[in-house]
């Protein structure tokens, strides 16, 4: 299929150029933009990616992804040296981070096992219930999680002797991690498991009649999403130099959902596009609009995007692409160069 190859190589070209721009950006932008906008967008974007993965490939809309990120965040916060209040575990980051990701994956699987029989609005309600319970749990637990105040001074590991939180270092670590997870999602979507997952989204009944255990695959999808959100949770905790119940509040849960929806649930890249847009609005809304009411502005932008394009920014881009391709089909090659000819020349089939 030549058109398929052309499409694939052109999308590879876009990916490489976007990546090149992202690598160059921190040398052009101010530190504020690099750290407060881009890094923040990437670390939260990873959690949004886990939500988009579940929604797009599995047809499963979960509000519990911030819980999973929180499990990973709290795991490193209660185990690494330097964290305040001091913990008795004192596990180095090189062990704490894998442990956090494993526990996040396990909690993803658990949430999947709880939610596996529910669909759509009921799935949304169950995962919302899990999110709210988790928030109240961490807030109430003073003994280990330090309750309302949470845990401070989680500084992150050193990378080759340089602290991770050095702006450039953190930027490139976040970028590499985001890209790796994004590539992972794209790879898995074409894998045996990814195809089964899309089959479940399109038609669970048929998939079952073909010999697949739908429930097991659904739970596994939550596990994969838990792995992704867990890595996001580790980075979020180091980015915020700690974690508190606010990180896993309903407000942040909804922020993640807004990122995914603004970006569009129709493609994994939407999670990051949505995260960048959300972070920019979230950061500057207070300057542009009444300090106490900047959430209204966020709400209005959210509504405007959803009304203009229900499938988010990626949906908008897809439609623009289709439109362009349509125009090119009508006026191919040389004819396109001469606009006066276009109207008179019948289109070649």
């Amino acid at each position: 299929m030549s058109t398929g190859n052309a499409l694939r190589s052109s999308s590879a070209l876009v990916t490489v150029s976007v990546l090149a721009v992202l690598v160059a950006l921190p040398f052009v932008l101010t530190e504020f933009w690099t750290t407060n906008i881009l890094v923040r967008a990437m670390v939260y974007g990873i959690v949004a990616l886990s939500l988009t993965f579940l929604a797009y490939y599995g047809g499963l809309l979960s509000l519990a992804q911030m819980v999973v990120a929180g499990v990973a965040g709290y795991t490193i916060a209660v185990s690494v040296p330097g964290a305040i209040p001091e913990n008795s575990l004192q596990i180095p980051y090189s062990l704490a981070i894998p442990l956090a990701v494993v526990l996040a994956t396990v909690s993803g699987l658990l949430i999947g096992a709880i939610a596996v029989r529910t669909r759509e609005i009921y799935l949304l309600m169950i995962t919302l219930a899990i999110a709210v319970s988790f928030y109240f749990f961490v807030q109430a637990n003073v003994e280990y999680l330090n309750g309302y105040e949470g845990i401070r001074n989680v500084l992150g590991p050193d990378i080759f002797g340089v602290p991770l939180r050095t702006p450039y270092v953190f930027y490139f670590v976040a970028l590499a991690t985001s890209f790796a997870l994004y590539a992972l999602v794209l790879y898995v979507s074409g894998s045996q498991f990814g195809l089964v997952l899309q089959g479940i989204r399109d038609n669970p009944r048929r998939l079952s009649a073909l010999g697949y255990n739908v429930a097991h695959h659904r739970i596994a999808a939550f596990g994969v999403a838990g792995f992704i959100a867990g890595i996001g949770g580790v980075l979020i905790t180091i980015y915020n130099i700690g974690i508190s119940p606010g990180t896993v509040s309903t407000h942040s849960t909804i922020s993640i959902l807004i990122m995914s929806v603004i970006g569009g649930l129709g493609h994994p890249i939407g999670a990051f596009i949505g995260a960048v847009i959300f972070t920019i609005i979230d950061t500057f809304a207070a300057d542009l609009y009444d300090r106490d009411r900047f959430n209204t502005l966020i709400g209005v932008v959210f509504l405007a995007i959803v009304v203009a394009s229900p499938d988010g920014v990626t949906g908008l881009a897809k439609r623009a692409g289709d439109l362009l391709r349509g125009l090119r089909l009508i006026a191919p090659g040389a004819v396109a160069a001469d606009p006066t000819l276009q109207a008179n020349v019948p289109s070649k089939d």
Binding site: L195, D202, L210
Partner: protein
């Protein structure tokens, strides 16, 4: 022939939906390799019977045996792995995937190690099997077309192809000719006739030009029960069949 175990055997199987007895005390036995056609007016319980055999609904009462083994309590995926393949009256396909991916999933579902995070390689035997099925269903030129963009006829071809892809022992086709153009019907008949004789086939079909030539035996259902079980030539001229079928369907 009688000494061998029947491919599928239903003993006093019923399925109720509230007060409605969709399938009412059906006892039915289909021999290995047999072609059985199930006829009956709309609402006779034919599709419900399929759903009960394939595990979409558990029977309210009764027992189902597949080559002598009790499968009454098995979930649909376990029955598929034992060798029951089926199609649906309204195509149930994976609309977001392309033809090859649909067929690949169908080939892969009954094979071990179906849980893999790796992509199938280019020369994967299962991908090859999926391509062969596409060839057989005359869909080779549509391999990379998303199901959403297929014509109705092509969707029906894919529907049958997916049931065949798992290489089932028992194939159950629910109105495969539904919505096919007259030109596509001989093609379907050819396909049904070319099925290996080792395969057991149960077919729900209203089109007599397709149903009767392939049938060994015909079962007529009405209001959830089996009314007549006979050979096609007798059924064709049976006044009771004509009364039930023509009297109510027309």
């Amino acid at each position: 022939m009688t000494s061998r175990l029947p491919a599928i055997e239903l003993s006093k199987v019923s399925r109720r939906f509230g007060a409605l007895k969709a399938v009412d005390d059906v006892t039915l036995s289909v021999a290995e390799g047999e072609r059985r056609v199930i006829l009956g007016p709309n609402g006779a319980g034919k599709t419900t019977l399929f759903n009960v055999v394939c595990g979409d609904y558990a029977p309210t009462s009764g027992r189902i045996a597949f080559f002598g083994q009790d499968i009454t309590a098995l979930p649909p995926y376990a029955r598929a792995r034992r060798g029951i393949g089926r199609t649906y009256q309204n195509s149930l396909l994976f609309n977001g995937l392309d033809v090859l991916e649909n067929l690949y999933l169908a080939v892969r579902g009954v094979k071990p190690r179906r849980f893999s995070f790796l992509r199938p390689s280019r020369d994967d035997p299962h991908v090859k099997a999926a391509r062969d099925i596409a060839d057989r269903m005359r869909l080779s030129h549509k391999l990379h077309v998303t199901v959403d963009d297929l014509s109705h006829g092509q969707r029906r071809q894919l529907e049958v192809g997916m049931a065949l892809a798992s290489d089932p022992k028992l194939l159950m086709l629910d109105e495969p000719a539904a919505g096919l153009s007259p030109g596509d019907r001989p093609e379907l008949l050819r396909l049904l006739r070319e099925l290996p004789r080792s395969l057991t086939l149960i077919l729900i079909e209203h089109d007599m030009d397709i149903a009767l030539p392939v049938a060994d035996l015909v079962t007529l259902m009405k209001d959830g029960s089996v009314v007549i079980e006979s050979t096609p030539d007798k059924v064709e001229h049976d006044p009771a069949v004509q009364a039930i079928y023509l009297g109510e369907a027309v």
